[in-house]
Symmetry: C2
Subunit: 205 residues, 2 copies
């Protein structure tokens, strides 16, 4: 498309423009900003990204992003291990942590069941959730998936899988507006919907 006087510049702008929501003009602005920074700072930036991708681990219990085998949240003894909050992504964990109202653990599914996108139950961390509940110690599973049809479907699928086990299930109260992304709900609304969670009856309402 655009032709710059430098192949190095062209390449860096092209790489930035691959990021979601970053067009070529913004990419150029970011790259030229980095060019004005001292070399060590830019190297720190580049290293932080490469290191993250190379060394990041996923917690073997809850599948949250972690620096070690078991994540910080799962290894904190002060947290209530009898509650497991089921979320789609790491971003949702961060969003709920920011409310400071939840002291239980998490389970990151990695998405929701979505036949349109070719995502079935086998692509998600559902079996490991069922196993976690089977092992015992979990008294309540809180569904905190996005309030969409796919989220509801996933809730229901897990509900069926866990039916008969000694575990109560609840779902975030619909304080959050339908069709919205969980991570963009404000802390107050999100916190309240956690406090007012309602028993899960298997109905999608």
């Amino acid at each position: 498309m655009q032709q710059y006087s430098s192949v190095l510049l062209e390449r860096a702008v092209g790489e930035f423009a691959k990021l979601p929501g970053i067009g070529r003009k913004t990419a150029l602005r970011l790259v030229l900003h980095l060019l004005r920074q001292p070399l060590p700072e830019v190297e720190t930036f580049a290293d932080a990204i490469a290191l993250l991708r190379r060394d990041i681990k996923y917690c073997k219990v809850c599948h949250n992003i972690s620096d070690s085998e078991v994540c910080e949240i799962c290894s904190q003894s002060s947290r209530d291990a009898s509650m497991v909050c089921v979320v789609e992504t790491v971003r949702d964990v961060i969003a709920i942590e920011n409310t400071s109202l939840y002291r239980g653990l998490y389970h990151v599914l990695g998405g929701v069941i979505s036949p349109m996108d070719g995502i079935g139950p086998g692509d998600l961390e559902i079996d490991s959730l069922v196993e976690r509940v089977c092992t015992g110690g979990v008294k309540e599973v809180i569904f905190a998936l996005s309030p969409t049809m796919e989220g509801d479907t996933t809730n229901f699928y897990i509900y069926r899988k866990l039916a008969g086990m000694e575990v109560s299930m609840s779902v975030l109260s619909r304080g959050i507006s339908v069709g919205d992304e969980l991570e963009y709900a404000d802390e107050v609304t999100l916190g309240r919907s956690l406090m007012n969670r309602t028993p899960f009856t298997g109905k999608t309402y």
Copy 2:
């Protein structure tokens, strides 16, 4: 501010959030996007940025970003070396190149005279421009600085420096709206203002 379950994640988000116009939520979104990409692609991304900062050169003639001592534009024999277009930044070179209406050379000042920001003539590539004109071969200098007070001041400063030399001076026609940034003008307006450039009389109008 926010606390993530991973130091690596925290660091990468922090680095992205340092970029202009990128907040912590956007930074997190970009970092999680990169986490989903294959390792080689993320390394390519990181390398492109580090390499750019390490190996980039500035053309010794026009101070444009370049991979070699003399940039691609300056070394093209097909371009008209008798015209020099004076711009603030590399972005302006790219914006003018995109109009495909200019076949002369450039001179990147690196900014405009702005006493408020502590930028004097000595901080800009003005002396090297005067030298370029002194050396001969330049018949016309086109001022393409932003149409602000600082841009006008810089035009006038250079005009005084070049006065008496055998060179004509012109300024972009005011088709571009006053107070706007040059790089965001659309190609048609920017191209027309290049074609309709007016003789520079030393007045700021």
